[in-house]
């Protein structure tokens, strides 16, 4: 059971990495949900004993590598997000579907804002409000996954 769960964590992270590596371009790139963060948030809620802030940091490093930016930017953004996810995890399990969806949106938004701050310090320029579209598409993806029977745990399990 324990090793099975670990295996599925690794497998899902690998799948998310491949999704990230798909050749996105143009509007699809602007809309692209943050697959890696979604997977990490899912496991932070579902298996808090296996997945923690450190996991998020490590996954963030892979995203840094894939995007070709300075090492540690995504890692820091994911760490901050994971902190909020972990500190409210016990409450989160009690939420119903809609509340959970709203909370996931807040988490995605937090990661984007922290990334924006980090990037601005590094000299990048804010590109306009389309920057926050991935949060919305990410929540949509979460919603679709739950609709198709993804078991997030807690009250949203269907009762």
């Amino acid at each position: 059971m324990y090793t099975n769960k670990l295996k599925s964590i690794y497998l899902s992270i690998l799948l998310a990495l491949i999704c990230l590596l798909l050749p996105w371009s143009g509007f699809a790139l602007t809309m692209r949900p943050d697959f890696m963060l979604l997977v990490i948030i899912f496991w932070l809620i579902r298996a808090p004993n296996l997945c923690n802030v450190g996991t998020a940091w490590f996954v963030g490093l892979f995203v840094d590598l894939a995007t070709g930016g300075i090492f540690g930017q995504y890692a820091l953004a994911y760490t901050i997000t994971a902190f909020f996810a972990v500190s409210y995890q016990k409450r989160l399990v009690l939420f119903n579907g809609t509340q959970q969806l709203f909370y996931v949106f807040i988490l995605l938004f937090i990661s984007q804002v922290s990334l924006l701050i980090i990037k601005t310090f590094a000299g990048a320029q804010f590109m306009g409000w389309t920057y926050f579209l991935p949060s919305i598409s990410g929540v949509l993806l979460w919603f679709i996954a739950v609709m198709f029977g993804l078991d997030v745990g807690g009250r949203s399990r269907g009762n």
Partner: protein, 337 residues
Amino acid sequence: MARHFNNNLEQQQAPAFFVRGPSAMARLAFFSVLSLALMAADSRLQYLLSVRQTLQTLLHPLQILANAPSQLYRDAGEYFSTHDYLLSENKHLKQHALQQDIALQKLNTLALENEHLRQLLEANKTIVQTSVAAEIMHVGRDLFSRKIIVNRGGSHKIAAGEAVVDATGVIGQVTRVYPLTSEVTLITDKSLAIPVQIERNGLRAIAFGHGRDNTLDLPYLPANVDIRRGDRLVTSGIDGVYPTGLSVATVSKIGITPDSPFAHIICAPTGGVENHRQVLVVRMPNIEVQAEAELAPTLVLKAIDAQKAVKESPVKLEAKQKKPAQLNHMSKQHVHE
């Protein structure tokens, strides 16, 4: 009694069932510091270059796997393209090749003539650049910068700093080289500047990427500068990176405001920055040699002499001071000529 009970409670430890190691706050602090250290090490000290190259090579198979569906789709599309389309394309290409053959013949005679004239003038030979064809693998994933990844890297002898062009103009410069791929920063990126020349009147300027949209800026030009809309900007070649005379952009908008001494000029890149698949990576051979050759040899020798003299004897400094002054004068004359 109540106090005793409280004491008992405090002594109790949390059951092992709830123990999860250090608190989330501690982990946050630890990993934040670690990330900040990594950022500093990567951006300021450049320690992580080899680490990045190794990891990128490990990631390469995954990248190919992720590229497979779109590659398959394109290949299938090519396979099922119609007979008519192939015929018309073939005809078009033949015509194009014929036109270019004629131009090439002219070019050969012109090159010979140019070389001959340069020999007569005893001028330096122009440099012949070599190039490597590459294909764009994917657009950079970072929304904050404008980059592309091409499928040629260190194992194909590509080096950072080389220019990248396509059939219609310059598109960027190689900024990072991995063993099998390399990262090209586009001319529209905010961090890239390219020395240009206006084709009509030869005015030199530097074009900066705008970053946010697909345009270039021409800053630091006075409001009364001789630039019209539709002017073509070509590479000036004085940087030793880009070959001379390649098309870069066309001027699309000129704004002059009374409160600013500078004109606000916006240009649209001519190269298919976002829509071509094949590109050429152009290498300028022996940039250092070229830079030395451009200085007049006598001037260099004299400058070295003057430096030696200054180093050798501080006492003779006054006597020798005339020489650098002379040198300055001479170089000014050189510029005027």
